[in-house]
Every structure is written in structure tokens, then in C-alpha cells.
């Protein structure tokens, strides 16, 4: 229930302009709210006078059963000319489709954009039954306030049972904000999602740096929300006969509601390196690389194999490579076809970020290094000596 503190309310009407459902009106010089209110919480955040509060009660099981369907936030890759869904969003559609089938309910994709030319076919081809399109000029680039407000409106009016987000920087910024606004449970970095016999979502995730797995449920409120790291679930098969119904969602958003401004952008774009998240081959450097100049040799090897250079937290914190190339729990989760670990001991935090790589080669001086337990091929020795030799062999092979 929305509670209006009339003593604090100055009738500035910012809430009226911000409400996605047009639920506010003024009567006898007092702010009032009608039954269109979905408790999406946009107004409580824009109010500068702390005059609006939402009281939420724990729902009964009958009320919980009213929440239906699996919703996936489709994060768009804005680096492309035409905004298209990120790889992780497709992975989520695959998992979401399974969950929706188990529940016998629909899979809903939500797209937030300013673009007229956004790709709305792909979510359908990957299993979505319905695409909710939220289009507004202020959704051109990601903002916490803008995206939270719109997504909360979509969730509170559609009432899905499950909402999934990619655990990307934006996903991890957005999901807890939405969860706190709607008072929802949220489980981060799930590696397993299943529906149990009570039709609840069972979320499995690593904890304590990956030393232990925990299965988590959200028994008292809906939707149940989770973030999932990229490269954890496979991309489903494309079915271009499967079409989704596209539905427009009316967005009300004001500039005043967005309280952050991006004043400078500085993107890293390097030669043969694409983002490590999507790379087919990665050569990853660890503490064993001793100095920054040694990385060039590894970069050469990576380029020869058609891949990119990555690294552990140790060398990112040394400032030898940018954070965008960090693999592990506090960096990116990768899943390349080939992962070559050079001088990486394989702390569990690192393993969490790369263990789903298809083929792993490890070179390390320490025969006891944990990384060898994961490797398809382990070589005990100095990566700085062995890998440049390998580069030479490849070079000679190409010339033949």
C-alpha cells in the first residue's frame, strides 16, 4: 500500500510526472492515488521530501501463485551499430525457456532501448513467447535510476514468477536496486536454476570463493530473482520459426528521475583483442609472468592462436593489464574453446572464472599448483621460457 504523508508533500507533482501508470491525482489540494498503482516504487525515489512510502506485506501462497511466467532482461550490446542482445541474454533465454516449460508458463523478454531499429526477432528465435518493448529517449544508455524505474514498472504490472539478469556490470548494478525497491529476494551468480516440486525456483551458486555450493530458495515473495554470469549456460539452438509477440510498454521517465550523468567515456580498443567474455582462445597470464614486458610474448601467442590476452587479479592490480581482461570471481567469467594458463597457480577465485573452458592447458613451475587439477594438459616448467618456444614452433609451422 502506498502511504502519502500530506504534511511533507509540497505538491511539486514530480511523482505525477514520473508515475508509469498515471496513478496520482490532486483532489482538494491533496495528492491522492488511485487503483492503477502497482507499487512499482518509482515515486518514492523521485520524491525529494520523503512524503511517499510503500508498505508491503508478505504474500500468502494463493497470492504467490498469481505470479506467472519467466522474465529475462535482454541487455543490449550498444557497441554494435544496431543494438542487439548480448550473448548472456541468449544464454538466459535458453535457461528461461526450460524453466518456463517446467512451469508450463510463458517466457517473457524485456527490452529497454531508445532505438527504433532494435532487433526484436532474436529473443523469439531463442524461445521468448512475448517481448515487452520499452522505448524512450532516456533509455539510450544505461542509467541505474532510469532502468530501475522502468523495469520495476514492467515487473509490477506483469507479475512474473521469475526474473533473470546477466551478471554483467550493468546487470549487477540493476538487479539489487530492483530487488530492494520491490522487496524481493535476489541470488547472485547462479550456476544452476531448477524448478522443484513446489514450483519454487531453486538457485544454486558458489560461495566462499567457490569452495562450497549453496542451494537457495525464495519462499515468501515473488518474483524470485537471480543473476547469472555469462558463459555459465549454453546458448540454445536457434529456431527461426519461433516468433514472439511484441508488446509496447508505455514508458514515463523524466530527466529529473535520473540522478547520475556520464561526463566522459574512455573505451579500450586493442588490435586483435575482442572482449575476453566472447573470445574463442585465451592466453591468461598470472603472477608467474614476473614483469609486464613478458606479457608481449604471451600476447603474440594469443594472436597466433586467434585469441586474446587475459590475466589474473594479481596482474590487474599490478596495472599490467586493464580490468576488462581480468578473469575470475572479481572479474569476468570466460568460457573459451581453449584456455592457456601461464604462470597462474589457480586460486579458487580464478577457477570460478574459467573452469567452464572447453580445453585447458596449464604451465606452472609448481607441480602442486591447483590449476593442474583442472587442466587437460599440464606442464611443469617456466611459462616464460616454454611459451615463446611454442610461438616459434607455430610460426615455423605456418611458414611450411
Amino acid at each position: 500500500m502506498l502511504i502519502i504523508d500530506h504534511e511533507r508533500c509540497t505538491l511539486c507533482k514530480l511523482c505525477i510526472r514520473s508515475c508509469p501508470f498515471g496513478a496520482f491525482f490532486v483532489e482538494e489540494n491533496l495528492l491522492q492515488v488511485n487503483e492503477s498503482c502497482t507499487l512499482c516504487g518509482t515515486c518514492t525515489n523521485v520524491c525529494r521530501f520523503n512524503a511517499l512510502h510503500i508498505e508491503r506485506k508478505l504474500a500468502s501462497s494463493e497470492e504467490l501463485a498469481k505470479y506467472k511466467g519467466v522474465m529475462v532482461w535482454i541487455e543490449l550490446d550498444d557497441a554494435a551499430d544496431l543494438p542487439k542482445p548480448k550473448k548472456v541474454s541468449l544464454e538466459l533465454l535458453g535457461k528461461g525457456h526450460q524453466l518456463a516449460n517446467d512451469l508450463g508458463e510463458e517466457l517473457i523478454a524485456v527490452v529497454l532501448t531508445d532505438s527504433e531499429a532494435v532487433d526484436l526477432q532474436t529473443p523469439g528465435h531463442y524461445g521468448a513467447d512475448r517481448v515487452i518493448l520499452c522505448r524512450h529517449d532516456l533509455l539510450k544508455t544505461y542509467s541505474t535510476d532510469g532502468f530501475t524505474s522502468v523495469l520495476c514498472a514492467v515487473i509490477s504490472s506483469n507479475k512474473p514468477a521469475v526474473v533473470l539478469y546477466g551478471a554483467t556490470p550493468h546487470g549487477r548494478d540493476l538487479a539489487p536496486r530492483v530487488a530492494a525497491r520491490l522487496k524481493l529476494g535476489l541470488t547472485a551468480d547462479c550456476t544452476g536454476l531448477e524448478i522443484d516440486e513446489k514450483r519454487q525456483l531453486v538457485q544454486t551458486r558458489p560461495a566462499f570463493g567457490g569452495n562450497i555450493m549453496a542451494s537457495i530458495i525464495t519462499p515468501y515473495n515473488r518474483p524470485q530473482t537471480s543473476t547469472v554470469r555469462p558463459n555459465v549456460f549454453p546458448i540454445p539452438a536457434l529456431d527461426d520459426k519461433h516468433q514472439a509477440v511484441v508488446e509496447n510498454f508505455t514508458v514515463t521517465l523524466t530527466k529529473a528521475a535520473i540522478r547520475t550523468r556520464v561526463v566522459e567515456k574512455n573505451y579500450i580498443e586493442e588490435g586483435c583483442e575482442e572482449s575476453i567474455e566472447n573470445a574463442r582462445v585465451l592466453v591468461a597470464a598470472g603472477r608467474g609472468c614476473q614483469k609486464a614486458s613478458n606479457l608481449e610474448l604471451l600476447r603474440t601467442l594469443a594472436c597466433q592462436l586467434g585469441g586474446g590476452l587475459a590475466g589474473s587479479r594479481a596482474i590487474v592490480e599490478q596495472g599490467w593489464i586493464p580490468h576488462t581482461q581480468q578473469v575470475g570471481q572479481s572479474g569476468t567469467t570466460v568460457g573459451p574453446e581453449l584456455y592457456i594458463a601461464a604462470g597462474i597457480s589457480g586460486a579458487i577465485q580464478h577457477q570460478v572464472g574459467m573452469s567452464s573452458s572447453k580445453t585447458i592447458i596449464a604451465v606452472n613451475k609448481d607441480p602442486e599448483a591447483a590449476i593442474f587439477k583442472l587442466a587437460d594438459l599440464g606442464v611443469v616448467g617456466d611459462a616464460q621460457e616454454i611459451l615463446p618456444k611454442l610461438s616459434k614452433l607455430i610460426e615455423q609451422d605456418v611458414q611450411k
Partner: protein, 266 residues
């Protein structure tokens, strides 16, 4: 100007072992440390204190009584006061209840805060959720993954260089605001003997459940929206070929042949 830094004491997870029989964590003998990302948040706060006049830093932590050690470490590193939010009723809190409890404790103890800094995530739970959830509960603008935290000359705005997927962005917000922090280029000064002595003279407050305006059923395990139903060891890992005692040339040739065999080299 008042800065609040939220910190967490965590087990040093690199040394955590799992009991193979019960599948639970062996906590005995595991050292507790100040979460590294919380320490980075404090580094950013200390830098602001050095750059601007009249800045005070309060560090706040929710945890068992021994979390006081982590607060003390922050006082040694330059914070001005410690606030320990501790009560048996807080035990078992998920990220939502933790955020609710901390937000309420901040309202109570430092109601006139300007800036809240937190680590981007804790190395035990790794959820990265508590920061944004505190920001939402307090209706603050948030900026995540900050590596440089600066203030405008009027001190009305915070300006943050943040890590994004493709590089960096610089983002501004009006104060009060919340920033989650990663490691920046701040040089940390190791505490001197005098810092260690002085830290013990700095004020340390304690907040219990009775001090907060939150009903008991909304605290700790009872108030949590998520419930852990099962813990188990991670699935077994594959173990491939391990080659030892090879000459460098031989080792390179072995890897080369492996790559050929797997068709990574055509």
C-alpha cells in the same frame, strides 16, 4: 563533510577448506580479515580526507562482536570513528536484511552523511548486492565499480571514474550518494606504531537491534527473503595429463602437438 564507509570482516577464503564428510566449511583456524574491496573503499575516503578540509570518516560494520577487529584496522588506516552493529538477532541475514539493517544504522548514527562508500563486493559471498540495496533503501543515487572518487569544488557533487565492460566512464551525481569501490591508484600508507596506538583512542560505538526502528521479525534470518536449503562441495574436477621434468624444447613440442591434435593449429 561526513563520509560513511561500510565494511565487512570476512574469512580469508583462499584458505577455506571443506569437510569432505559433511560438506560444510571448516572454520577453525581460518583467519578473519578486512574484505579487500572494503579496504579500497576506505582508501578512497582517506584520500578525500587528505585533499579536503573538514572531512570525517565513520566506518560501520554489521557482524559478530569480533568484527570490532576489522573496524580497529580501519581506525589504524585513518578512519575517525567505528560503529559496530551487532546483535544475535542480526544473525543469518541475507543481503536484503543486511542492507536494511545497515541503512537504518547509518540513519541513526550518522544522519547527516554526505557520501557512503562500500566495497564492490565481499570475497566470501561475492554478491555485490548490499551496496546498491543500501542506496535504494536510502533513496540515493548510486555509482558502482568506482576506481577514482573525487568531489566538485563546491563539494555538492561526487565525480567517479568507474570500470565498465569496455573500459572506463566518468560519472557524476549530486550528494548525498553511494559509491561502490574497486581498487584505485591510491597509495596506502602502512599504519605506523603511533597510528596503531591512536586508533585505540578513537571513538567506537555499538548499535544493537533495540536501537533500530526495525521490527524483530524483519531482522536476521527471519527477515531474509532468501533461504539456504542445502550446501554441498563443488562438483569434482577433471584431471588430465601432467608432464614433469621436461626440457624447455620438449615441453613446447608437447604443447604444440596437443594443439595440433585438438585442431587449434591447422
Amino acid at each position: 563533510m561526513k563520509i560513511v564507509v561500510c565494511i565487512k570482516q570476512v574469512p580469508e577464503v583462499t584458505n577455506v577448506q571443506v569437510d569432505p564428510e559433511t560438506g560444510t566449511l571448516i572454520r577453525e583456524g581460518v583467519k578473519s580479515i578486512l574484505n579487500p574491496f572494503c579496504e579500497y573503499a576506505l582508501d578512497h575516503a582517506v584520500r578525500l580526507e587528505q585533499e579536503f578540509d573538514d572531512v570525517s570518516i565513520s566506518v560501520i560494520s554489521m557482524g559478530p562482536p569480533q568484527a570490532k577487529d576489522a573496524l580497529l584496522r580501519c581506525l589504524e588506516l585513518g578512519a575517525d570513528e567505528g560503529i559496530l552493529v551487532t546483535d544475535r538477532k542480526f544473525a543469518g541475514a541475507d543481503s536484503w536484511v543486511t542492507a536494511l539493517t545497515l541503512a537504518e544504522a547509518i540513519r541513526l548514527t550518522v544522519p547527516d552523511y554526505d557520501l557512503i562508500l562500500v566495497g564492490k563486493q565481499a570475497i566470501d559471498g561475492d554478491t555485490a548486492q548490499v551496496g546498491p540495496e543500501i542506496a535504494e533503501i536510502l533513496s540515493l543515487p548510486q555509482i558502482t565499480y568506482g576506481i577514482e572518487v573525487g568531489l566538485s569544488s563546491t563539494r555538492k557533487q561526487v565525480r567517479v571514474k568507474q570500470e565498465v565492460e569496455r573500459g572506463y566512464e566518468v560519472v557524476e551525481a549530486s550528494l548525498p550518494a553511494l559509491v561502490t569501490c574497486s581498487k584505485g591508484e591510491v597509495v596506502r600508507r602502512a599504519p605506523s606504531f603511533l597510528d596503531v596506538l591512536n586508533a585505540r583512542k578513537k571513538p567506537m560505538r555499538s548499535v544493537s537491534a533495540d536501537d533500530l526502528r526495525i521490527p524483530a521479525e524483519e531482522l536476521g534470518l527471519k527477515g531474509s527473503f532468501t533461504q539456504v536449503v542445502k550446501v554441498f562441495p563443488p562438483p569434482g574436477k577433471k584431471c588430465g595429463r601432467l608432464l614433469q621434468n621436461l626440457e624447455t624444447d620438449q615441453a613446447a613440442a608437447e604443447i604444440f602437438n596437443f594443439l595440433k591434435e585438438k585442431r587449434f593449429i591447422e
